[in-house]
C-alpha cells in the first residue's frame, strides 16, 4: 500500500491580527507549523500502514522552508518527505496547487492519498477534491472514521450536517479528514533522529513534467484583487455611564424592540 499525505505549512496562529493603523496583518515571528488538520491526515496514514503495511510519504508544495514540516512528519513515523519547490509554483491558487500536486503524485504513484479537510490559513477545503479530479480517482471528503480497509477497497464514514454517510470506494482513492477521526501521535525520538538525517526529495516543475502554463500565478484562474479590514457598522451605539446605567439602557432598548 503506497500512502501519500499532502500537508501544508501554515502560520502557527490562525489569530493573526491586523495593525489598525496600517491596515495590514501582523505576523511577526509567527513560526510555521503543519496545518492541524493535516496532522490528523498523517496519523490516519500511519494507522493504515500499521494495519495494512506499506509506506507513507508526506508531500508538500512550498518554499524551501517547508522542509521543516516534512521533517516533523518524518519524526512522527512517516517514511519519506517530498518537497515540491520551484519559483514557478509561486502564487498558485487552489486550482494550480491541485494541478501541481497531481503531477507530483502521478510521478510518485499512490494507492491512498490523504489530506486534511482544509488548511487553517485559507479554509477553502478545495485542494483535496480538485486533486482527486486531476488524478481521475474517487474522493471522499470529511472522513470521520475508517471502518474497514482491504487491498482494493475502503469503507469510511463521511461527516455531513445531519449525521454521516457510510461510503465504500475502490482504490486508489483520495480522502480528506476531520479532527474527530483520530488523535495525532507525538513524534518519537527515533523518528526525530531519522528526521534529522533524512534526505528530503525535492521536485521541481520539470521533474514532474508539468505544463508551465498551468503552474503558479500563470496557471491560477483566481486572483486576489485586494485585501481589506471589515468596516464598522453605521448604526452603532456605544452605551455610556456606569455599568448599571448601560444595562438599564440596553434592557429598555430590547423592550422597545420587543425582544424581551
Amino acid at each position: 500500500m503506497k500512502i501519500i499525505i499532502c500537508i501544508k505549512q501554515v502560520p502557527d496562529t490562525s489569530e493573526v491580527r491586523i495593525n489598525p493603523e496600517t491596515n495590514t496583518l501582523i505576523r511577526e515571528g509567527v513560526p510555521g507549523i503543519i496545518n492541524p488538520y493535516d496532522m490528523h491526515a498523517i496519523e490516519a496514514g500511519l494507522q493504515i500502514k500499521d494495519k495494512a503495511g506499506g509506506t507513507v510519504t508526506a508531500l508538500t508544495m512550498g518554499p524551501p522552508q517547508a522542509e521543516t514540516a516534512l521533517r516533523e512528519a518524518i519524526s512522527m513515523g512517516v517514511d519519506e518527505g517530498v518537497l515540491l519547490t520551484d519559483r514557478a509554483f509561486a502564487g498558485s491558487d487552489t486550482w494550480a496547487t491541485a494541478y501541481t500536486l497531481a503531477k507530483a503524485i502521478e510521478h510518485l504513484g499512490a494507492d491512498i492519498i490523504i489530506c486534511g479537510k482544509q488548511a487553517i490559513d485559507g479554509d477553502t477545503a478545495q485542494v483535496g477534491p480538485e486533486l482527486a479530479e486531476f488524478l481521475d480517482i474517487p474522493h471522499i471528503a470529511y472522513v470521520r472514521n475508517i471502518d474497514d480497509i482491504k487491498e482494493d477497497r475502503i469503507i469510511v464514514q463521511r461527516l455531513m450536517d445531519d449525521g454521516f454517510d457510510v461510503i465504500e470506494s475502490s482504490l486508489p482513492v483520495l480522502f480528506t479528514v476531520v479532527r474527530e477521526l483520530n488523535i495525532p501521535r507525538m513524534p518519537s525520538l527515533k523518528g526525530k533522529m531519522a528526521a534529522k538525517k533524512a534526505a528530503i526529495k525535492k521536485l521541481t516543475a520539470s521533474d514532474i513534467n508539468a505544463d508551465e502554463n498551468d503552474l503558479g500565478l500563470k496557471g491560477s484562474p483566481t486572483q486576489v484583487r485586494n485585501i481589506f479590514a471589515p468596516e464598522a457598522k453605521k448604526d452603532r451605539r456605544i452605551l455610556e455611564g456606569t455599568a448599571e446605567q448601560k444595562v438599564e439602557v440596553l434592557v429598555n432598548e430590547l423592550m422597545r424592540l420587543k425582544c424581551l
Binding site: 479554509d123 480517482i137 445531519d162 484562474p221 451605539r237 425582544c259
Partner: protein
C-alpha cells in the same frame, strides 16, 4: 500579473517588509526582494514611499468570456428536501442576473418536479432537473460529471453553490475539470461595473481580514456561499419558468453510499434556530464565565455559542462554535461576551439582526459591527443584565 520591486528606486527602508502578510518580502544586499511566498495580494503596493513597487499585468485571452452568459445556482437536496441555502443562492443569483441583464437558472439533481417548481417560485427562470433516482443520494463522481457536462453545454458565466458538506465536496471537482477558478465560502458577491467580473468576497488568513477574489480570464466564475449569509429570494407563487429535463448517460461512480445515518446534535439545531444567542470568547476566562452566559441564555430563552478561542481552550465543546470554522448563525439578538471579534468569528454571526457586544477592551473589533456596545467587565455587566431582565419579566 506579477509584482516587481525596482532595485534602483528601492532605498532599503524596509517598510514593505512589514506590510507583507505572507512574509514574502525579504531584504537582500540592502534592497527589498520578493520571494516565492508572494500571493500577489498587493498589500505592499501602496506602502512604498519611493513608488518602487509595481504590478505588471499580462495579456489574457478573453474568447471564452464573451461566449458565456447566465447565472447558475446549484440547488442541493438531501432526502428530497431542499435546504434554505438553495433559496439564499437564488436570492443572490437573482440580484447578480439582473445586474448583468441575464437569466437565472437552477440545477437540481434528484428530488421531484414539485421541488423543481419551488425553485422557480423562489426566483429561477429555468431549472435543469435530472430526476434520476440514483441522484437522490449525494455521490461526488456522478454529481460532478453531470454538472460539468451541463456547464460545458450551456456555458454560464457564473455558477454558485452552497458551502455545505455537499457543495464543498464536489464543486471543486467541477472547477478542476472545467479549468476554472472557484472561491470558497464567499460572504458577499458583487459585479464589477466596468469589467462585469464577479467580485467574490471572503475572509482570508484564518478569517482575520477580507479578500476580494477575481476569476478574470476563465468562465464560469464559480463560488460557494455559506448558508445563512445571503438573504433568500422573494417567494412568488405565480412566477413562471421553464423546467428542462436532463438525461443521465454514463453515470460512473467508484464510490457507493452504503447508508446514511442521522445523528443530529441538539445544540446545532438550537444554535441555528435560536432567536437569541449568548456567545462567549476568550474573555470569559473559562467554564465559570460560561456558567454566567448559560444563566443569561436561560432567562432570555436563548442558546449559548462560543468563539474559536474559547473552544480551542476547551471551555466549551466544538458544536457551540460560531464562525468560519463553526456554525453560521443569524438570530434576532446576538450577545457577544468577551469576544474580541476576529473576522473568522464575525463572518459566522454578522448577519444577526441586533448585535450586542460586551468587552473590556474599547478597541475590540467586535464593537465595529455591534449595534450596542458596552465597554465593561462581563463579570459585572452580565449578572446585572440577568437581574434586570428577571425584574422586567416579572412585571
Amino acid at each position: 500579473m506579477f509584482i516587481r520591486i525596482d532595485r534602483d528606486k528601492c532605498t532599503g527602508c524596509e517598510s514593505c517588509v512589514e506590510s507583507c502578510p505572507y512574509g514574502a518580502i525579504v531584504m537582500a544586499e540592502g534592497r527589498a526582494e520578493i520571494n516565492e511566498l508572494c500571493q500577489f495580494c498587493k498589500a505592499c503596493l501602496s506602502v512604498c514611499p519611493e513608488g518602487a513597487i509595481s504590478e505588471i499585468a499580462e495579456a489574457s485571452d478573453i474568447k471564452e468570456k464573451e461566449q458565456a452568459s447566465g447565472v447558475w445556482i446549484f440547488a442541493e437536496q438531501r432526502n428530497g428536501k431542499i435546504p434554505g441555502v438553495s433559496f439564499e443562492l437564488l436570492g443572490a443569483g437573482r440580484r447578480l442576473a439582473e445586474e448583468l441583464g441575464t437569466q437565472l437558472s437552477a440545477v437540481l439533481f434528484g428530488s421531484d418536479e414539485t421541488k423543481a417548481g419551488e425553485l422557480i417560485k423562489w426566483g429561477a427562470d429555468r431549472v435543469y432537473h435530472c430526476d434520476d433516482e440514483r441522484l437522490n443520494v449525494f455521490n461526488d463522481e456522478p454529481y460532478s460529471k453531470m454538472l460539468s457536462a451541463l456547464i460545458r453545454e450551456h456555458k454560464p458565466e457564473i455558477v454558485l453553490a452552497g458551502a455545505t458538506p455537499i457543495g464543498r465536496s464536489f464543486i471543486p471537482r467541477v472547477a478542476a475539470s472545467l479549468r476554472t477558478g472557484l472561491t470558497a465560502d464567499c460572504t458577499s458577491l458583487e459585479i464589477d461595473r466596468e469589467t462585469k467580473n464577479l467580485l467574490q468576497i471572503r475572509p482570508a488568513f484564518g478569517g482575520n481580514i477580507m479578500a476580494t477574489i477575481l476569476c478574470p480570464h476563465t468562465r464560469p466564475q464559480m463560488a460557494t456561499v455559506r448558508p445563512r449569509v445571503m438573504k433568500a429570494g422573494i417567494y412568488d407563487e405565480t412566477r413562471k419558468g421553464e423546467i428542462v429535463k436532463v438525461n443521465t448517460d454514463n453515470l460512473r461512480a467508484r464510490t457507493t453510499v452504503l447508508k446514511t445515518v442521522k445523528e443530529v446534535s441538539e445544540v446545532a439545531i438550537n444554535l441555528q434556530e435560536a432567536n437569541i444567542i449568548v456567545s462567549g470568547g476568550r474573555g470569559t476566562g473559562g467554564e465559570k464565565g460560561f456558567k454566567l452566559l448559560y444563566e443569561l441564555a436561560e432567562v432570555l430563552g436563548g442558546a449559548v455559542g462560543a468563539s474559536r478561542a474559547a473552544v480551542d481552550e476547551g471551555w466549551i465543546p466544538y458544536r457551540h462554535q460560531v464562525g468560519q470554522t463553526g456554525k453560521t448563525v443569524s438570530p434576532k439578538i446576538y450577545i457577544a461576551c468577551g469576544i474580541s471579534g476576529a473576522v473568522q468569528h464575525l463572518v459566522g454571526m454578522q448577519s444577526s439582526d441586533i448585535i450586542i457586544a460586551i468587552n473590556k477592551n474599547p478597541e475590540a473589533p467586535i464593537f465595529n459591527i455591534a449595534n450596542y456596545a458596552i465597554v465593561g467587565d462581563l463579570f459585572e455587566v452580565v449578572p446585572m443584565l440577568i437581574r434586570k431582565i428577571k425584574e422586567v419579566k416579572t412585571i
